[in-house]
């Protein structure tokens, strides 16, 4: 009889453990939300030869040159910008109008890229990621230069795809 109760208590504890786990697994919350970055814009940093760590541009306005579509208008100064590459085209052209030390500038940034349509998950749906082939400015001043630091545009935070070194001097 004593052994029976000892067995009973031992097995009860084991059962209780599993019942708790079992009920918890039933009641646990499901994570039906999207964890992947879905906004896959190209990050462009601004610098000069003198100040390679970064410079700010004032009143930056970015327009899709092919469609004459305003993409961004920032009245504050900024040292980087995220530009959405064309999802269904392999060439994106951005006209960038801005001020630097009170002087207006207008530049056209051309990006050649390859796109990938991606089904991410049931929760996230689809997104477009890109791989940068070539970047150039078709009206660059002498001395402007561009560095492609990361050719994969996957929408991750702090991706730092392209860095433009302006020649304002």
């Amino acid at each position: 009889m004593k052994a029976f109760f000892r067995n009973y208590i031992k097995e009860s504890l084991a059962s209780a453990f599993f019942v708790v786990c079992f009920v918890c697994s039933f009641l646990s919350c499901s994570n039906d939300y999207c964890k992947e970055p879905m906004d896959t814009s190209m990050e462009v940093l601004f610098a000069t030869r003198r100040d390679t760590s970064g410079v700010s541009l004032q009143s930056l306005k970015v327009t899709d040159r092919k469609r004459n579509l305003l993409l961004l208008e920032d009245t504050l100064s900024c040292s980087s910008v995220r530009l959405p590459l064309a999802a269904f085209d392999t060439i994106s052209e951005f006209r960038m109008d801005f001020y630097r030390s009170g002087v207006p500038y207008s530049k056209v940034l051309v990006v050649k890229h390859k796109n990938t349509e991606e089904f991410v998950s049931a929760e996230c749906g689809c997104r477009i990621t890109s791989k940068i082939d070539t970047v150039y400015m078709n009206n660059a001043y002498h001395g402007d230069s561009i560095v492609v630091r990361n050719k994969f545009v996957l929408g991750r935070f702090d991706e730092r795809n392209v860095k433009i070194y302006w020649n304002f001097d």
Binding site: A3, F4, N7, Y8, E11, S12, A14, S15, A16, F18, V19, C21, F22, V23, S25, F26, L27, S28, C29, S30, N31, D32, Y33, C34, K35, M38, D39, D64, R67, L69, L71, P84, A86, A87, F88, K114, N115, T116, E117, E118, F119, V120, S121, A122, E123, C124, G125, C126, R127, I128
Partner: protein
């Protein structure tokens, strides 16, 4: 659905609480492993041997889910060989059909009502369990509290239909549909209890921790555009995001050899 799940949980919990009163404990002479005190007239009596028999288990969770949810159906059966009441090599096979499109609730873009993400296929598991409870060599069948592992492979079909890829800044969009076959593999750590309730009829509960998931990405070219389909579900695994823990509630029969 969640309410229903809760009731099922409570019901099964209640059954589990009754396990200690099961048939095996009612038998006389099972307190000692030594020959002395063994009831040789017991239904469960046997001479010690290396292979006692094998279990065939049927999982009740998947069929129950199928009853309460139209989005998924499936079944799962397994077999395990009882060696010395200690070591149990096991194989498992299952099928699942999951319509995961209902989970599309936090999408960045609107999608047509007709959108579908469905996975369907079989999965195969091989592995072994190790019984941690007292072994009773003079019994044909012994309650088991075990730890084990599984290697799982699942070849399955997927269908993605009428999702939308958009260029939100320019207002462009097009529909995205794809289907094909992929292969998923993963490992599982298993912990479980199994006990006879009447003769060789047993009930059991297993918890699975799934890990080392690897699933193929499917790549193709459609109209010169590169296209990748990542999977977020697999039969036997469920949702990759929150399917890490799984469980089986089994009814099994022990075939004594």
């Amino acid at each position: 659905m969640k309410e229903m799940s809760r009731y099922i949980g409570i019901l099964i919990s209640a059954v589990l609480w009754l396990l200690p009163f099961s048939d095996i404990y009612a038998a006389k002479g099972d307190k000692k492993d030594s020959r002395k005190g063994v009831d040789t007239t017991s239904f469960y009596y046997t001479e010690p041997k290396s292979v006692y028999g094998f279990y065939v288990d049927v999982d009740l969770v998947d069929p129950l889910r199928s009853v309460f949810s139209s989005n998924r159906s499936g079944f799962n059966v397994s077999a395990g060989l009882d060696i010395n009441h200690t070591f149990m090599p096991a194989v498992e096979v299952g099928f699942a059909d999951i319509d995961a499109s209902e989970d599309y609730s936090y999408a960045v873009v609107e999608v047509p009502q007709s959108h579908v993400y469905r996975v369907s296929g079989t999965y195969f598991k091989v592995g072994a369990d190790f019984n941690l409870l007292n072994k009773k060599p003079y019994r044909t069948i012994s309650p088991m509290g075990y730890l084990g592992f599984r290697y799982v492979i699942s070849p399955y079909k997927y269908e993605v239909k009428d999702y939308v890829v958009v260029d939100a800044f320019r207002g462009d969009g097009k529909r995205f549909s794809a289907e094909g076959d992929v292969l998923a593999q993963w490992g599982e750590v298993v912990a479980g209890l199994k006990t006879p309730v009447f003769r060789y009829l047993c009930v059991g509960l297993e918890l699975h921790y799934k890990t080392f998931l690897h699933c193929q990405k499917k790549e193709s070219f459609v109209d010169d555009a590169r296209r990748i389909v990542k999977q977020s579900y697999a039969p036997g695994f469920g949702d990759f995001n929150d399917g890490v823990w799984g469980f089986r509630y089994t009814i099994s029969y022990f075939f004594h050899l």
